[in-house]
C-alpha cells in the first residue's frame, strides 16, 4: 500500500507528541511492508528529502511567509499541496493520512484532486486545548470540523477523545476509530548512571527526584504541580522538582515557582535532547503528569516504559490507561493537595512504588507497542479503501 502521511511535525521538528507518533507509526507501517511517504515542514539542518528505514520524507519549505499565524498556515499548506501533487505524478497513493488540523487544508485538496480516501487523526481539539475565546480559535475549530467532515475515517487515541470529537463536531461515532498511541520500548532499555544524572541536575543522594515533562502551556497543569511543592515539603519529604520542556507559558510558571517559597527545590531545564530526557526519566523517583486536558498523555506511557512510578491527573486518555493504585496513581486535576498526596503516596512507599512500575510495564508492553498499533491502523486503511471503492 502507498501511504501519504501529512503532518506539520516530524523529527527533528518535535514539539509535542505528534512527531514521535508519526515517526513510530511510519516506521511500523514500513516494517509491515507498506510504502510510506511523509510530507512535513522543513527544519534548519534537516534534509529537504531523505529515505530512512524505508520511509521517504519530504520536508517542504514555505517560500513565502506572513506574520499572521493563520495566513502562514494557509501558505505552507499551499506548498505542501504542490509537493504532494508533484510526487503523486509518479506514485499512485492508496490513502492519505493527515495528522491534526494544521495540514488539513492541503490534504483535503489532494483528496479531491486524486480521488483518494482520507484518514484524519485528531490528536486534540482547539476547544480542548485553549477554548474558543478569540477569532483565530473559531477559525481553527472550523478547520478541525472541516477535516472531520471530509475524512473517510477519523482516528483518535482515546475513548475520551472520541467522545469529544463526536460531541463537539456532531460526528457519527461509526466514523471514529480509537487506536491508542504507542512507544518504542527499545529506547528505554539502555543502561544509565542514575546517580550521575541526578547529580547533574543538582539532586543530592538523600533527595527524591520528582520529574515533570511537557510543553510549558496551560493545558499541562504545571502550575498546580508547582503549588504542590510546599505541601510535599511540609510533609517532610526532601524532594527536588525538575521540569523538562519549554513553552510560551514559562515566564508565568517561573513566577508561580518564585511564589512557592521553595524556589530552590525547582529547576526548569528548557528543551533537552531525547537521550538526555530518557536518562532523566529513568533516574526519577516519580513522574508527575498534572494535565488539565490530555487526549492521550504519551509522556505517562514513556514513564511506564522507563519503570518510573506515575502520578497522573484523572483526565482524558490518562484515566484510561493509568489504573489507579495498580499501574500508577490518579489524582484530581487542578488540585495541588491531591497532586501532593499522590507524590507522597509514591515516595513514602518504595515497595508499593516498585509494584506499580512492574504492573505498569506489563500492561504497557502488552498493548502499546508500535507493531500492534500499525496492524490496527493498516486494517482501518484496508476497510476505508474497500468502502471507497464500493462508492
Amino acid at each position: 500500500m502507498n501511504i501519504a502521511m501529512v503532518t506539520w511535525e516530524y523529527p527533528p521538528r518535535i514539539v509535542g507528541g505528534i512527531a514521535p507518533h508519526c515517526e513510530g507509526l511510519a516506521k511500523a507501517l514500513s516494517d509491515l511492508g507498506h510504502e510510506v511517504y511523509v510530507f512535513t515542514l522543513d527544519f534548519p539542518g534537516a534534509a529537504d528529502y531523505e529515505e530512512t528505514q524505508g520511509i521517504r520524507v519530504y520536508r517542504i519549505r514555505s517560500e513565502v511567509g506572513h506574520p499572521n499565524f493563520l495566513t502562514w498556515v494557509l501558505l505552507f499548506n499551499h506548498f505542501i499541496e504542490k509537493r504532494l501533487a508533484d510526487v503523486s505524478q509518479g506514485v499512485d497513493f492508496d490513502i492519505l493520512h493527515v495528522h491534526d488540523w494544521l495540514t488539513a487544508p492541503s490534504s483535503i485538496a489532494i483528496k479531491h484532486s486524486l480521488q483518494k480516501p482520507l484518514l484524519f487523526t485528531a490528536h486534540s481539539t482547539e476547544n480542548g486545548r485553549s477554548g474558543l475565546h478569540i477569532p483565530d480559535s473559531f477559525t481553527i475549530d472550523g478547520i478541525e470540523w472541516w477535516a472531520t467532515y471530509e475524512a473517510n475515517k477519523i482516528i483518535v487515541t482515546s475513548s475520551s477523545m472520541k467522545d469529544e470529537v463526536c460531541g463537539h463536531f456532531r460526528t457519527s461515532d461509526k466514523k471514529v476509530e480509537v487506536i491508542p498511541n504507542a512507544i518504542d520500548w527499545s529506547k528505554y532499555q539502555r543502561a544509565i548512571d542514575r546517580w550521575a544524572v541526578r547529580a547533574h541536575y543538582g539532586v543530592q543522594p538523600h533527595e527524591n527526584l520528582v520529574l515533570c515533562i511537557g510543553r510549558l502551556v496551560p493545558q499541562k497543569g504545571i502550575e498546580y504541580l508547582l503549588k504542590a511543592v510546599p505541601i510535599v515539603a511540609r510533609s517532610g519529604q526532601d524532594a527536588k522538582l525538575i521540569i523538562a520542556g519549554d513553552g510560551w507559558y514559562r515566564d508565568h510558571l517561573e513566577w508561580v515557582a518564585n511564589s512557592t517559597g521553595q524556589r530552590w527545590r525547582i529547576t526548569f531545564t528548557g528543551f533537552i535532547s531525547e537521550p538526555d530526557l530518557i536518562a532523566l526519566t529513568k533516574s526519577a523517583d516519580v513522574l508527575v503528569v498534572p494535565s488539565v486536558y490530555e487526549p492521550f498523555g504519551i509522556v505517562a506511557l514513556e514513564g511506564m516504559a522507563a519503570e518510573v512510578p506515575i502520578v497522573a491527573s484523572q483526565v482524558g486518555g490518562l484515566k484510561e490507561f493509568v489504573e489507579h493504585d495498580r499501574t500508577g496513581v490518579l489524582v484530581h486535576p487542578r488540585n495541588p493537595e491531591s497532586i501532593a498526596w499522590g507524590i507522597k503516596h509514591v515516595l513514602s512507599n518504595p515497595g508499593h512504588a516498585r509494584w506499580l512500575t512492574q504492573n505498569a510495564k506489563e500492561a504497557v508492553q502488552k498493548t502499546y507497542a508500535w507493531d500492534t498499533i500499525a496492524k490496527r491502523t493498516s486494517k482501518v486503511y484496508e476497510n476505508v479503501i474497500t468502502e471507497a471503492v464500493k462508492k
Partner: protein
C-alpha cells in the same frame, strides 16, 4: 479548558512568533530590527529590547550580512514558537 484568565503572551514572544511565521529561520531570510518593527507594528526600540532578551534566551541569533545587523530564529526558538500552536 477555559483560557479566560491566562496571562498575555509576552511581547518578545510575539516578536519571535512573527519572525518564525515570516520565515526568518534561515540566514537568507534574516531580518533587521527596522524590518521587524514594520512587520510587527512595534516600535524599533522595543523590538531591539525584545531581540536582546530573545538572544540571551537563545531563541534568536544575530548575524551580520554586508555590515547589516540581522536576526533569525534558532532551532530552539522554532520549537518554542510551535508550543503556542500545538
Amino acid at each position: 479548558m477555559s483560557s479566560t484568565h491566562l496571562p498575555p503572551v509576552p511581547e518578545e514572544f510575539q516578536v519571535l512568533s512573527m519572525m518564525h511565521n515570516i520565515g526568518a529561520i534561515i540566514p537568507e531570510r534574516a531580518l533587521t530590527p527596522d524590518e521587524l518593527a514594520k512587520w510587527t507594528g512595534i516600535e524599533v526600540v522595543h523590538v531591539k529590547d525584545c531581540l536582546q532578551r530573545l538572544r540571551e534566551l537563545g531563541y534568536v541569533k544575530y548575524i551580520e550580512v554586508s555590515g547589516v545587523e540581522k536576526y533569525l530564529v534558532t532551532k530552539i526558538g522554532i520549537m518554542k514558537v510551535l508550543t503556542l500552536y500545538s
